[in-house]
């Protein structure tokens, strides 16, 4: 952008591109309060015997907390579709790593883990 073009173009460009998405502060405080509440819920629920469901409850709460951080603190909710797509791809890839490997270990009890 040559400065010779003057303030007009300059101003127009500014208006067009530099819209920082300003999230109201109360959103952050609300998300923070929710995250803290969920932290103590997960700590307290872990002391109740839910049988095999303990781990699922713990992971569900962790996934919910992580989603809140990603969407609001990391601004993904307000990001471009390309950014959203990349984020989803990343976690999809992680789920491939975890689920495909664990599917073997869960269903084929004769398979050992290294060291056993």
């Amino acid at each position: 952008m040559a400065s010779a073009h003057g303030a007009n173009q300059h101003g127009a460009n500014h208006a067009a591109h530099s819209e920082n998405h300003i999230v109201p502060k109360r959103v952050y405080f609300f998300i923070f309060a929710t995250l803290i509440a969920l932290t103590w819920v997960t700590a307290l629920v872990s002391r109740i015997d839910l049988g095999r469901w303990n781990i699922f409850v713990a992971l569900a709460i962790a996934i919910l907390k992580a989603s809140l951080v990603i969407l609001f603190f990391m601004h993904v909710k307000y990001s471009t579709r390309l950014t959203k797509f990349i984020v989803v791809c990343g976690f999809f890839w992680l789920s491939l790593l975890l689920f495909i490997t664990m599917a073997d270990l869960w269903t084929r009890s004769w398979m050992g883990v290294p060291g056993r």
Partner: protein, 229 residues
Amino acid sequence: MDTNVADAPEIANPSALQHHFENAEQQRDASTIGMWSFLLTEIMFFGGLFLAYFAYRQAYPLAFASASLKTDLWLGAANTTVLIGSSLTMALAVHFAAIGKRQLLVLFLILTLILGGVFLGVKAYEYHDKWVHHEIPGPHFECEGCVDAQHTQLFFSLYFGMTGLHASHMIIGAGILLVLIWQAYKGKFTPDWYTPIENFGLYWHFVDIVWIFLFPLLYLIDRSGRGLT
């Protein structure tokens, strides 16, 4: 901030718009995507450790359950609270960078650094506690009252590996924060260009997310003691 358009620093500041970008929006999107690409490699980096954790927990459930009881539930929960608090102060720091409040930006970066330091301090205390009780895998390892004590070493190896990698990310983050605090104090960041603050925020929140999973997986395996009776 709209009134600043006339003397917008994006021209004055050479770092504002690189010549190979069409406009600042494209530049910002590119840097956000670049940062996320880095974070995806980090997700896979930690993902390998999480996979090892799930595989060995599946193989030795009793050892993992009894070793997990050696961690301090309330210290872990308190530390989670501290770390989420540091994420809040970081999110607010990015907010103040975006609206051009330099002093508040510096203040909230410092608060983030302090909360990160508290987290690491508590972690160091927990490590020391493990050290004193010989709960470090190796020739002098002991796990008093543990079921399948031999394999509890696997839990503690993963515990130190995962929390250690997490802590090293925080130490690196604290180092970067020191630089950012200095730059922010010097007035390097404006509402038109504060990409380092924004991207560091992404990094800091990512480290928070890792801990959000580490806490239930390491501290909360079998708190009701069901599996061990």
